[in-house]
Structure formats: structure tokens, C-alpha cells
């Protein structure tokens, strides 16, 4: 009995010492030895990260993780997805359970500076909006004094909503649920008058309502919500890789390279194109990948514009057309601008 107890105690002690060894620093090395990237995504947001009935994930955020996989492994499918709620997402990233979080997460100072996380860019510029039933006869958010609003708990949405109503001296009732599905169900059942989240989320969740045509999105945008991927702060090389994956996709669209013509563009004489394709220069070494990293990204996943149009563009159920909005390329007057690949 005593021997059993002593041996259990020593095993526990050794386990504790092993834990005290500290988190492995080289995320890239760990990912390469694992053979896949663990990507944190949402629990089902059409257009951004949503599983189909076979369990295959697709969306704007999913394609970012696939782009990283193409950069690291040369194969876009070496990704495993972890669906995370808004509450659990940062802990999962900080604890090392996932390698990168691509979950339509808003870039804020608190999250960047106090949580030990690093935002590596913006893959969708969004803003918070409101959705109401058409038969309420409301045309503007300023008419919502005294309304009940349903939202997801633990998000910037709650804070922005409270700020908006306080700033305009209006009363409201906030009903905050844990999961997005519950919010939509409560809004559909009439528990609240207003559903509020990022406008892309409104477009996505409207497809899940029983009568999407009965609802409309109000014109007001009450906050800035730059959505982007997040990694841990302690690994600069992995953060650089994530950042430049996104930048490569944007630069490819700027140069007019897409998954269709990338093979023919490989032999292009333009030095900028050569640097992107990896035939000239050694940019890839600093981020620890092969020289065809950007070529693989564009070939297997596409450039930023292709990915956008495939998942959230004007021809998708979300119908978030790019033209004239902030999500257009900077050359067309939008905000999608990436530093040069050199």
C-alpha cells in the first residue's frame, strides 16, 4: 500500500517537472513534426468557417489555414480544424491546443497587448450592424429605444452594443447566449427584437433563419471590426509566416496572378512576380519554408480575390459584393493593401 502510494507520488512529481519544462518554442518545427496545422475555427459561420454535411470545412478563414498549409507543406489539405466558441478561442490558442486562430476575430488593443497574442493582419474589414424583422417598421438603429437585443456572449459585440445605446441615451435589454445557434434560435422565436453582430455574420446567419426574407439589416455600422488571424506572441517566426501568407495572397491578386494563370506566370520576366514565385531571391528562408511557398498558395488555394468571391462574394448566399466597399483592393479604393514581397 505504501509502495503503491510512493510510486504514484513519484510519477506525479515527474509529470509536474515535465510540465515545468515550458512550452515548445518552435511552432513551425512542432507543426512540421506533427505533419499538420491545427487551425481554430468557428462553430459554424457560413462563408467564414462552416462544415458541410460530410464534415469538410470551407470558408474565408478556412482558406487562410489552407494557405498556410500550402506554404509549409506544399499541400493545402494538411490542416485539422478545432471548432471553438467565442469564450474558449483565446485560451485554446494560448495553451497551445491550436497553432493558429482563424475565427473572424476582431483586432483590438486589449486582445493584442494583454492576452499574449499577436494579430497578423486583416482578412476582412467588417463593422457591427443590426438585423430586425421587416414588419417592425424600423428604418434606422436610432429608433431602437427600449428594444431587446440578442447577441453572442464574450465578444466585442456586447461592448459595442452597450456603448452605442449609452452614447445615444437609449434603453435596451441585452440577452447574451453562449453559442451563435442559440442566439439565432432565440431571435427567430421572437425573444428579442434585434439581432446584432458583425455585418458579415448577419448575412451568414440570415441564411439559417426560417424566413430569411422577413428580416432586414439596418444601415448603421456602429463599430470597426477588422477581422483577422491570430497566433501566439512568443513565436516571431511563425507570426511572420502567418502574416506573409496573407500578404502573399493579396500581392498575388494585385499582380493579377490567380490559380488559373499561376503556372504560365511562373516564367514571367517581371522581377516582382519572380520574387513571389520564388524563382528569384531567398525570402522564403527567413520564414522557414521552401521557395515555392507562394506559388503553392496561389495554385492550391487562390489569391485573395478568388478566395473572397468563392465564399462571401456577390454570387454566394451571403451576397457581400466587394465593389466599392472597404474590402476591395487599394487600387480600387478599398483597404486591402499588403506590404511588398521583397
Amino acid at each position: 500500500m505504501k509502495k503503491l502510494f510512493l510510486s504514484c507520488l513519484s510519477v506525479a512529481l515527474m509529470g509536474g517537472i515535465a510540465m515545468a519544462g515550458g512550452h515548445e518554442k518552435g511552432t513551425l518545427a512542432a507543426v512540421k513534426s506533427k505533419g499538420h496545422i491545427q487551425c481554430g475555427v468557428s462553430q459554424g459561420l457560413p462563408g467564414f468557417s462552416n462544415p458541410d454535411d460530410q464534415g469538410n470545412w470551407s470558408g474565408l478563414d478556412v482558406d487562410f489555414c489552407r494557405a498556410m498549409s500550402a506554404a509549409v507543406f506544399g499541400d493545402a489539405d494538411k490542416v485539422k480544424y478545432t471548432p471553438l466558441s467565442a469564450k474558449a478561442r483565446f485560451e485554446a490558442l494560448r495553451s497551445g491546443e491550436i497553432d493558429v486562430l482563424a475565427r473572424n476575430t476582431t483586432w483590438t488593443m486589449t486582445r493584442d497587448a494583454t492576452l499574449g497574442l499577436e494579430f497578423v493582419g486583416v482578412n476582412y474589414y467588417d463593422g457591427q450592424g443590426f438585423m430586425v424583422r421587416k414588419d417592425l417598421g424600423v428604418n434606422s438603429a436610432m429608433e431602437l429605444d427600449g428594444a431587446s437585443a440578442c447577441t453572442n456572449t464574450g465578444t466585442t459585440t456586447e461592448l459595442n452594443l452597450t456603448d452605442f445605446f449609452r452614447a445615444n441615451g437609449m434603453q435596451f435589454e441585452l440577452v447574451a447566449f453562449e453559442k451563435a445557434d442559440e442566439v439565432v434560435a432565440a431571435y427567430d422565436a421572437g425573444r428579442c427584437d434585434v439581432y446584432t453582430t458583425d455585418r458579415s455574420g448577419l448575412a451568414a446567419q440570415r441564411t439559417k433563419l426560417s424566413n430569411p426574407g422577413d428580416h432586414k439589416v439596418l444601415p448603421e455600422i456602429i463599430s470597426k471590426e477588422p477581422l483577422g488571424p491570430v497566433v501566439r506572441q512568443d513565436d516571431a517566426q511563425w507570426a511572420d509566416l502567418a502574416r506573409w501568407t496573407l500578404n502573399a495572397m493579396i500581392n498575388a491578386e494585385e499582380m493579377g496572378i490567380n490559380s488559373g494563370n499561376v503556372d504560365s506566370k511562373r516564367n514571367d520576366s517581371n522581377p516582382a512576380v519572380k520574387r513571389l514565385m520564388g524563382t528569384e531571391g531567398n525570402l522564403h528562408e527567413a520564414v522557414g519554408v521552401n521557395n515555392d511557398w507562394a506559388y503553392n498558395i496561389v495554385k492550391q488555394v487562390g489569391n485573395y480575390g478568388e478566395v473572397y468571391e468563392r465564399h462571401v462574394g456577390a454570387n454566394t448566399p451571403l451576397q457581400l459584393g466587394r465593389g466599392g466597399t472597404v474590402n476591395d483592393l487599394w487600387t480600387n479604393g478599398g483597404l486591402i493593401y499588403a506590404p511588398p514581397l521583397r
Binding site: G22, F90, L115, G146, G154, L159, E178
Partner: protein, 392 residues
């Protein structure tokens, strides 16, 4: 002589060995604990994660549907903690009382001679014990919400509503107690004291003369009837402020949100099914000879149950009953699934996600639940020792 000296060397002394092993064990445990804490702090510093309890003074910035104390979005996280804690205590307190009542009732029904009654109770127990609680909570939330109409269908705009039911909740008027209400409160307090006194006097009288006194009804009159009389005589010193129907919702008044009703209903029905079985077990554990003897003395079935069987059954019922109370308190944390703002949902949910300090927040929350559980079980143990029968 030399062998005697070596045979009693220090290591062979059993007492010394015992102390030595305990010292080694204690220092190993302390080292383990210290290394875990140090490792956590080092890792948090390395990754730039804030530590400390200063976040409790920061502004929360979000609003909460239901709070028993005044709460504004500009209040601190510390205030959020208080609001969440009170909401949890409310659900736990009311839930425990109701679950005990329903549980005892169903448990006694289960033992009834009436075939229909006992089988109904059996069906109830089997259904509610075996379905996971989260499913029950979601079911009752939908069951509470679906049949209720929206406020705009029930109330006319710009009318004053004194009492109304909609899918936003049960709304009653806000009431302000005027000064004259103190007469009523004093009467009620005196009524309680008098009832306790009468109870003691009646017991002594019954012990000596054998005559019974209707303490229950006297108490009812003193605690409820008399204060109501005083209330009416002092001119009904309560001011009612009705709610007013705005464009979307009722403004003002006091509203009980449907989330509270749903979580209360599901917790009570779920826990009561377990309590019913505990009560049945306790009653059946009492020797049937007790029932036979009491019937032989001419006592009716109800009196037998109340005065002979249940007091003996309480010894067996109370310890598992304590576990069920603790379960109910902890299960109330599932309220996050239906947006009831309890401690987990507000403090360890929204507030945690805003300020990111998981360790401190969860440590506080765990301490709270631990303290609640310890307090409940301490009280129940004291109660148990008081009602414990001393057998011959």
C-alpha cells in the same frame, strides 16, 4: 552489548521512520505545488499575459438582463461578480426549496397504495432522472418561450400595464414601500416569535395533558393573517408604479425573465426526481414494525407517516439530500446555455472574455462554488445532528 546498540539505531525506530516519511512526503508536495505555481507565473510573464486582481476595478462595459442590485454598464467587474453571485444564489436558493417540496411529495406518492398515483410518480422519476440536464434546460426554455406571445401582440402601445405575461417575461408593477409599511413588518416578525412560543407551549401542554393545539393554523393566522390585517388597516402603504408599453418592450416595472423560469423549472424537476428516490429509500428503510405498531395504536396513515416514519427516515435521507442540494447549486451553472446571467455566464463568461484573465477569474469562481458547497453541507450536517434519533 555492541549488537544491542546497533539494533536500536535511529533508522530502525518506527516512530522516527514515520516522522521521516511524513516530512519527506510533505516537502515533496510543497515542492510540487511551488514548482507548478512558479512555472505558471514564468510562462505567463514570458507570453505577456497580465496577472493580478487589479482587473476587478476596471469598467465592465456590458449590460446584464437581470440583477437583484442596481447595475449599470459603467460599473466594475467587481460589481459584475456580485450581480452574478446573487443571481446564482437566487436560483440555487429557490431551486433547493422547491425541489425539496416536489421531491418529498413525489417520493411519498411513489409509496402510495393508490396504483395510479404511484405509477404516475414512477413515470415522472424515470423520465426526469434519465434525460441529461442540459437537454431538459433547452427543452424547458423552448417550452416556456414558444407558447408565449410577443409583447407587441399582448400589450397596446403607450398603455400602462399592471400585470402581464409575454415572451419577454412576467411583468408586475414596481412597488415602493411607504413608511407605514414598517407596522406590517413588525407585526410579521412578532407573529413569527409568537408562533415559536406557541409551538413550545403546545408541545409542553401535550406532554403533560395530552391535548393537542392547532399550532399550524394559529401560526398561519399570526404570520400571514395578522400582518395582512395590519397592512389593510394602515391604509395599504404601498405605491405601485406600472410598466408602460413602449414601441418594443415594457419599460419600468419588475420583470421575471423567461430564462429564470426555464432554468428554475428544469433544475427543480430534475433534482426533485432524485430527491424522490432518496425519500422513498429513506422511508422504506424504516422497519415496517414501526408502521405496524403505530397502526396498532390507532394512528391514521398520515399521522404515522408524519410522526413515526419520517423522523426516523430523516437520518437516512439527509446525507444524500445534501449531495443533491450541492448538485443543484453546481448545475445552475448550465444557465449559460439559455442566457440566464448567473455567475458563470457573466463573470466567468463575458467578463472573462473581455479581460482575458482566466486564472484569476476561474480561481475566484471555483472558490465561490466551493464555499457555497461547504456552507450547505456544514448546515445540513448540523441539521442532521439535531434531528438524529438517539436509539435505546
Amino acid at each position: 552489548m555492541a549488537e544491542r546498540a546497533s539494533a536500536t539505531s535511529v533508522l530502525n525506530n518506527p516512530q522516527f521512520r514515520a516522522i521521516l516519511y511524513q516530512l519527506i512526503m510533505a516537502s515533496l508536495l510543497i515542492y510540487l505545488g511551488w514548482s507548478i505555481v512558479e512555472n505558471t507565473i514564468a510562462n505567463m510573464e514570458e507570453r505577456g499575459i497580465r496577472a493580478g486582481f487589479g482587473f476587478l476595478q476596471e469598467t465592465a462595459g456590458f449590460s446584464i438582463t437581470m440583477s437583484l442590485v442596481p447595475y449599470e454598464p459603467g460599473d466594475t467587474y467587481g460589481r459584475v461578480f456580485v450581480v452574478g453571485l446573487l443571481n446564482t444564489l437566487l436560483v440555487a436558493g429557490v431551486g433547493v426549496v422547491l425541489a425539496t417540496l416536489v421531491g418529498f411529495l413525489v417520493g411519498v406518492m411513489r409509496l402510495s397504495q393508490n396504483w395510479v398515483v404511484s405509477h404516475l410518480a414512477n413515470i415522472y422519476v424515470e423520465i426526469f432522472r434519465n434525460i441529461p440536464l442540459l437537454l431538459q434546460i433547452l427543452f424547458w426554455y423552448t417550452a416556456v418561450l414558444k407558447p408565449l406571445p410577443g409583447p407587441r401582440q399582448v400589450f397596446e402601445r403607450n398603455t400602462e400595464i399592471y400585470f402581464g405575461i409575454s415572451n419577454r417575461g412576467i411583468t408586475g408593477p414596481e412597488f415602493i414601500l411607504l413608511d407605514a409599511f414598517s407596522f406590517t413588518t413588525w407585526t410579521a416578525l412578532l407573529g413569527i416569535l409568537f408562533t415559536i412560543g406557541i409551538h413550545r407551549w403546545a408541545k409542553r401542554r401535550q406532554a403533560t395533558t395530552g391535548e393537542q393545539f392547532p399550532v399550524f393554523f394559529a401560526g398561519l393566522g399570526l404570520i400571514i393573517g395578522l400582518p395582512i390585517l395590519v397592512f389593510l388597516l394602515s391604509g395599504a402603504p404601498v405605491e405601485f408604479i406600472p410598466a408602460k408599453m413602449g414601441r418594443f418592450n415594457l419599460a419600468g416595472g419588475i420583470t421575471i425573465i423567461p430564462e429564470f423560469l426555464a432554468i428554475l423549472l428544469s433544475l427543480v424537476l430534475y433534482t426533485a426526481s432524485f430527491i424522490a428516490e432518496i425519500v422513498r429509500a429513506g422511508i422504506q428503510a424504516v422497519n415496517y414494525g414501526q408502521t405496524e405498531a403505530s397502526r396498532a395504536l390507532g394512528l391514521r396513515h398520515g399521522i404515522t407517516l408524519r410522526l413515526v416514519v419520517i423522523p426516523q427516515a430523516m437520518r437516512i435521507i439527509i446525507p444524500p439530500l445534501t449531495s443533491q442540494y450541492l448538485n443543484l447549486t453546481k448545475n445552475s451553472s448550465l444557465a449559460a446555455a439559455i442566457a440566464y446571467p448567473d455567475l458563470i455566464s457573466t463573470f466567468a463568461g463575458t467578463a472573462l472574455n473581455q479581460n482575458g484573465q482566466a486564472l484569476e477569474t476561474l480561481a475566484i469562481t471555483m472558490t465561490v462554488y466551493l464555499s457555497l458547497s461547504l456552507l450547505t453541507s456544514a448546515f445540513m450536517n448540523w441539521f442532521n445532528s439535531r434531528v438524529a434519533l438517539v436509539e435505546r
